[in-house]
């Protein structure tokens, strides 16, 4: 690993100050993504700010739901009684990710901020607009390796079928984020200009012509916590993850479903897909369609057709155009207990 400097902080304020003080400075949480990227020289930090000692790891009940601290470990969230009882979709999504060891290290904030697994991004000798943006600058990141997009016209089996651009077709690899997008989470952040709250579905962004920006966090902003509002979906929730092996692999396609049912009728739906876009892919239009519909195969097929509107394959990932709607139908069957 290239050498870098290290500092440990005990207050969010000190963490933010350390990051804005000097370019090339990064927050370090569990390290499971950052240290990997530093070893591969995808990221060449000047300094790491160890935030693991910040008091941001609590999971607590609030007046409107629960608040999960940004430094809560993925395993602690998945095992938490409140999460399992009220938000089983989140627990399922977390347990579908990585390995038991990695979930003991990975934090909620780090999981949201993890970079794509696009193999061109991971190899600095390959062209990649995300790693080597054409316009560089203090908040744009420094170019590292050739620009371009290796995946368009290259190996793109893992890549996006929704919302890609001519600059980048990478996907956000997180499972947890699919559940948080479906469950209307909100993200509390603090930065040099104070605190603000971002709806989860606005946290990540589509690549457009700035693929270097995975999300809408501003320079120096630190994620403090994630709020989840109470809902009526616990009984009819399901996270379906389709991958190349049964465990310990990233999603080809995943589906998060939460439903409120009255007998056989869907009263309210929450749906998001993973492995298909640069951000967790919330399906609001499909949710509206499902409202008031009977839980039947016909309904699910119509929902899947609607969900695939605007989908586009890039060659090697064309199979996702069939896999995604089938996964959606399957997840709806399981969640409605009509499988």
């Amino acid at each position: 690993m290239n050498p870098f400097r290290y500092t440990r902080v005990t207050t969010p304020k000190a963490a933010i100050a350390a990051v804005i003080q000097e370019g090339g400075t990064y927050f370090l949480a569990g390290g499971t993504n950052l240290i990997d990227l530093v070893k591969r020289e995808v990221i060449l930090p000047e300094k790491l700010v160890d935030i693991t000692k910040l008091p941001l790891a609590t999971i607590e009940k609030t007046a409107t739901g629960i608040r999960i601290g940004a430094l809560a470990k993925n395993s602690a969230v998945a095992d938490h009684a409140l999460v399992q009882k009220q938000f089983p979709l989140l627990a399922m999504a977390l347990n579908a990710g990585a390995s038991a060891q990695l979930r003991n290290m990975a934090t909620v904030g780090g999981n949201m901020m993890q970079r794509t697994r696009c193999s061109y991004f991971y190899d600095p000798s390959m062209p990649c607009n995300k790693r080597s943006p054409v316009q560089s600058g203090p908040d744009k990141g420094q170019p590292n390796g050739p620009a371009g997009c290796g995946a368009i016209g290259g190996f793109n089996r893992m890549h996006a079928i929704f919302g890609g651009s001519g600059k980048c077709i990478a996907v956000h690899p997180s499972d947890m984020c699919v559940a948080l997008a479906a469950l209307d989470a909100r993200v509390n952040v603090a930065g040099p200009k104070g605190e603000r709250t971002i709806p989860f579905t606005d946290f990540h962004r589509l690549p457009g012509d700035r693929p270097q920006n995975d999300n809408t966090l501003l320079p120096g902003e630190l994620i403090l916590s994630v709020d989840l509002p109470t809902n009526a979906f616990a009984e009819h929730s399901h996270y379906l993850k389709v991958r190349d092996r049964a465990s310990y692999a990233f999603a080809l396609v995943s589906v998060g479903v939460g439903l409120k049912m009255n007998e056989n009728t869907i009263q309210e739906a929450r749906l998001a897909m993973g492995g298909v876009a640069h951000k967790p892919w919330r399906l609001t239009e499909v949710e509206q369609f499902l409202q008031g519909q009977p839980a039947t195969e016909v309904t699910f097929r119509q929902a899947a057709t609607l969900a695939m509107k605007g989908a586009k394959g890039y060659g090697e990932n064309d199979f996702k155009l069939t896999l995604a709607p089938n996964a959606l139908i399957d997840a709806l069957k399981t969640a409605t207990k009509t499988a």
Binding site: M1, F4, L28, I35, L48, S75, M105, S247
Partner: protein, 210 residues
């Protein structure tokens, strides 16, 4: 991956021991595959640059002994254990969180030592495979791996055993299927999986304290 390919065909190089050769060829391979950034670092006087980075203090309890150390920020817990403390029981497989060979317990939780920056363990307790044994008495999980032939080459075994102990302690060993899911972070390229699951189920069902 590139390292393996480059050194793979040349292991029989006469005149240097396999180990030295592997070290040399890995360094060369690293140079060969390292993108411009690495070369830039060399051009900038990499060794001098590295030397300029200060050593920072670290106090951490390892297998019951408090260690007061002085280390570079970029040192991982895995490299600290193996290179500086001589605790080579913990293995380096992939060095990227993908195989589980480096599994140790940090404050009682199983983690991958290869992606843990050593300085982040300040004030913590680390247990490695060397710390699992009590004197000459093997841990029940070690006994079970021997009894069930839960290994072939043995390279993944320390990680498997550390993970297996945690798996039972966490309460994730109630069925062979659950064991398979919660042990998926430990890859065995010899494919000793069936016997590993048997060993874990045996310890779990035997009710020994792990």
């Amino acid at each position: 991956m590139a390292d393996e390919e480059t050194s793979g065909g040349e292991i029989e190089n006469p005149g240097s021991s396999r180990r030295t050769f592997l070290k040399q060829s890995t360094a060369l391979a690293a140079l060969a595959v390292t993108p411009p950034a690495g070369i830039t670092a060399l051009g900038n006087g990499f060794p001098e640059k590295a030397a300029a980075y200060e050593l920072l203090p670290l106090q951490v309890e390892i297998n019951g002994t408090v260690q007061k150390l002085s280390i570079e920020p970029r040192v991982t817990l895995l490299d600290l254990l193996r290179e500086q403390l001589g605790l080579t029981g913990t293995k380096k497989g992939c060095d990227h969180g993908q195989c589980g060979a480096c599994t140790v317990h940090l404050d009682g939780q199983r983690i991958n030592a290869c992606l843990t920056l050593a300085l982040t363990t300040e004030g913590s307790q680390v247990t490695t495979i060397e710390g699992l044994t009590k004197g000459d008495t093997l841990h029940p999980m070690q006994e079970a791996f021997i009894k069930h032939d839960g290994l072939q080459c043995g390279y993944c075994t320390p990680g498997q055993i550390m993970s297996a102990v945690a798996c039972i302690r966490e309460g994730h060993a109630d069925s062979p299927d659950e064991v398979r899911e919660y042990m998926s972070g430990n890859i065995c390229r010899c494919g000793a999986y069936a016997n590993i699951v048997n060993a874990i189920m045996d310890v779990k069902q035997g009710g020994a304290k792990v």
